[in-house]
């Protein structure tokens, strides 16, 4: 029974990080139909900022957490303004290629600046294990799960209750009509990027806490799998992203538990392919008919 509980926690931890990243994908895709390939790399930037602040400057972990989130938020907005905004009305193919270019730029830029060797982010706290009735739980795992729950609830409230959330939903529904209604479309999109990237920043901190290392290519696989999670749940849907993230996390955990870790990536991608063929809109997604 101990193993079972530990493995469930492992799956939850993995799934929570995927869910946080998937939320960012889902928000950006929901509003401008852009698969933001660079989203995973924003997490990489956040992890490096944590490393810079703590290992290089020797500052307080709390400051590192705040600075990482701020840096990711700024990064997201800047990327949107510089690379995506000029292409708002361009063909989808062009924007997609640009997104790949941005992702590639961040990865190789980080490699040039920091080197290919991974950097170690110091521990945020000295606590590494929590004892719960004789069961040794990993502290980062518990924190990750809790933070993800809080972040999801906060995001749902933001989108459903606040004025800006209403604007976001309107722009995502029909950009032209939203503009006519007096909604500032550009600042709404920027705000969406900011929120999505802030979530990526939180993800970066949790990632750095659990896996302690920052490397230039760490965002690629993480980003791709989180995208899979977002598609699984139904892109554009907040509960969908969380459920999708947990499915991916649990799928990986179960495959690894069975001793088939080699096929882990293949299983996740196979899952994606099956979902796209059977139900292209995902679990919580809405069908959209194509306009000529």
């Amino acid at each position: 029974m101990d193993i079972f509980l530990s493995q469930v926690l492992n799956g939850l931890q993995l799934g929570s990080i995927y869910a946080l990243v998937a939320l960012g994908y889902t928000m950006v895709y929901g509003i401008i139909l852009l698969l933001n390939f660079a989203h995973g790399d924003i997490i990489m930037v956040g992890a490096y900022v944590s490393w810079l602040v703590m290992a290089q400057l020797g500052l307080n972990p709390v400051l590192a957490i705040l600075l990482s989130i701020v840096a990711c938020t700024l990064m997201g907005v800047i990327i949107d303004k510089v690379a995506y905004a000029p292409l708002r009305n361009a063909p989808r193919l062009s924007i997609l290629i640009t997104a790949i270019g941005v992702s590639y730029f961040l990865e190789n830029g980080a490699q040039l600046v920091f080197g290919a060797d991974p950097k170690v982010v110091p521990a945020f706290t000295d606590i590494s294990t929590i004892n719960l009735g004789g069961l040794a739980l990993s502290f980062p795992a518990v924190v990750t799960v809790l933070v993800t729950i809080v972040a999801t609830v906060a995001l749902t409230l933001l989108v459903q209750k606040s004025k800006l959330g209403k604007a976001m939903r309107a722009v995502s529904e029909d950009m032209g009509a939203a503009r006519l209604m007096g909604i500032n479309v550009n600042s709404t999109i920027s705000f969406t990027f900011a929120v999505g990237s802030a979530l990526a920043g939180i993800g970066a901190v949790l990632y750095a806490m659990a896996y302690t290392q920052a490397s230039p290519t760490m965002g690629m696989m993480l980003g791709t799998k989180a995208f899979v999670a977002a598609v699984l749940g139904g892109i554009g849907s907040i509960p969908g992203a969380v459920v999708g993230g947990l499915i991916v996390g649990f799928a990986e955990m179960i495959v690894t538990w069975l001793g088939l870790s080699v096929w882990k990536d293949a299983v996740v991608f196979l899952l994606l392919i099956i979902v796209l063929i059977v139900r292209p809109t995902g679990i919580f997604g809405r069908t959209m008919s194509e306009k000529v």
């Binding site: 730029f105 830029g109 392919i273």
Partner: protein, 386 residues
């Protein structure tokens, strides 16, 4: 011997080509056009081969040239799916790897059965030539089968979803290549160790003969009714379907053709390097090929070939540049998309015949505009541009 097949083929296909040209303008008959191009291709091959034999091109340079050829094939084949069909597959390296492994395993196994030594491949006997051509076809077919398996589900989706699903398939191919040995229990791909001891059968002559054949085949395909159907799908899929184009069929056709040629390029790559490992054919390799197509111009074979050439030679020529190569690729991608989304050459294709016809008609670009010909035969692509 490949050249002979080509010269034979060209006139045959040309009879199906366009009919009489407009009015009083002097034009070249199709057979003559094909003959001119075939002669030029032959000339390039012969001169290149003589220079290698004579030692004017060192082995280092000829190895680099072979890689240039491989990348040209990869770029023009991806161009079918990206430039002509208007989709964005991110798994081209996956097809390349299927072809590379297929070809290398076929050649190695058959060489063992037929008792051909590794040395014979460098000297070249009729048997090895047949074996290598067979291997390239096998590699291409393996990749084409992979293309069908991937294409049928993937092409139901479009845009971002297609990109991500092809990326996913390429990753699955990589994982399978890595682990299939331990599942099957016998030696096929060599797994993580890589496939080693592949005979070095690729030569300048073979690679560029393949480049010429591939360019020729793609060119004729795109000039045919099938090609026009593919272009129609790119321009507006719904409209194409409404006018009776079987979109599923033609999308799959373009996708599979793209995979087939990528597989051939993979086979040539295997013979050029002698070692294959699954990690080489990752996402990064797919992006590298994509950069070549995007930079050169989506829909321009000349553009793809030129940028493949430049982007392969540049890191070799300027070793200092190679450190910044990847970041330069990224910046190029973004800038091209923002400022010139159609790529440097757009959909322009070089045509030698068109130039000759202009000379015949004394219609030079510096003359005034009004008497320009209505439409000289457009896009007689010459593979001699390499």
């Amino acid at each position: 011997m490949e050249e002979e097949i080509m010269t034979d083929k060209r006139p045959i296909i040309s009879t199906g080509g366009r009919g009489g040209a407009s009015g009083s303008k002097k034009t070249l008959p199709m057979p003559v056009r094909y003959a001119i191009n075939a002669v030029l291709v032959l000339l390039v091959l012969v001169v290149g081969e003589l220079m290698i034999d004579g030692g004017a091109i060192t082995r280092y340079q000829s190895t680099v040239l072979e890689q240039v050829g491989v990348y040209i094939i990869l770029a023009v084949s991806l161009n079918i799916a990206t430039g002509y069909l208007g989709q964005l597959p991110l798994g081209h390296a996956g097809f390349m790897s299927v072809g590379a492994y297929g070809c290398a395993i076929f050649v190695m196994r058959m060489a063992e059965v037929l008792g051909v030594g590794a040395r014979d491949f460098t000297t070249g006997t009729p048997l090895t030539v047949l074996l290598v051509i067979g291997g390239l076809l096998v590699g291409g077919l393996c990749a084409a089968v992979a293309g069908i398996i991937i294409g049928i589900p993937a092409l139901r989706l479009k845009g971002d979803y297609l990109a991500i699903i092809t990326l996913a398939f390429a990753e699955i191919i990589r994982v399978v290549m890595l682990n299939i040995d331990s599942v099957l229990g016998f030696k096929l791909t060599g797994g993580a160790k890589g496939l080693t001891g592949i005979p070095g059968y690729s030569s300048f002559l073979l690679v560029f003969a393949c480049v010429a054949i591939v360019c020729f085949l793609i060119h004729t395909m795109m000039k045919s009714r099938h090609g026009r159907a593919i272009l129609a799908i790119r321009d507006n899929e719904i409209a194409a379907e409404a006018t009776g184009v079987n979109t599923t069929y033609y999308k799959t056709l373009a996708f599979v053709a793209s995979a087939f040629f990528a597989g051939m390029a993979g086979g040539l790559y295997a013979g050029c390097i002698g070692v294959l490992q699954p990690a080489y054919f990752g996402f990064m390799k797919s992006i590298e090929i994509l950069v070549m197509v995007v930079l050169g111009g989506m829909g321009s074979m000349l553009g793809s070939a030129l940028s493949a050439t430049v982007l392969t030679i540049l890191p070799e020529a300027l070793r200092a540049f190679s450190e910044y190569r990847m970041i330069a690729y990224a910046i190029v991608l973004i800038l091209v998309m923002i400022f010139r989304p159609q790529g440097l050459l757009g959909s322009y294709d070089f045509s030698l015949s068109r130039i000759i016809e202009r000379v015949m008609n004394r219609d030079f670009p510096w003359k005034k505009k009004d008497d320009a010909p209505a439409d000289a035969a457009k896009g007689e692509e010459v593979s001699a541009d390499v």
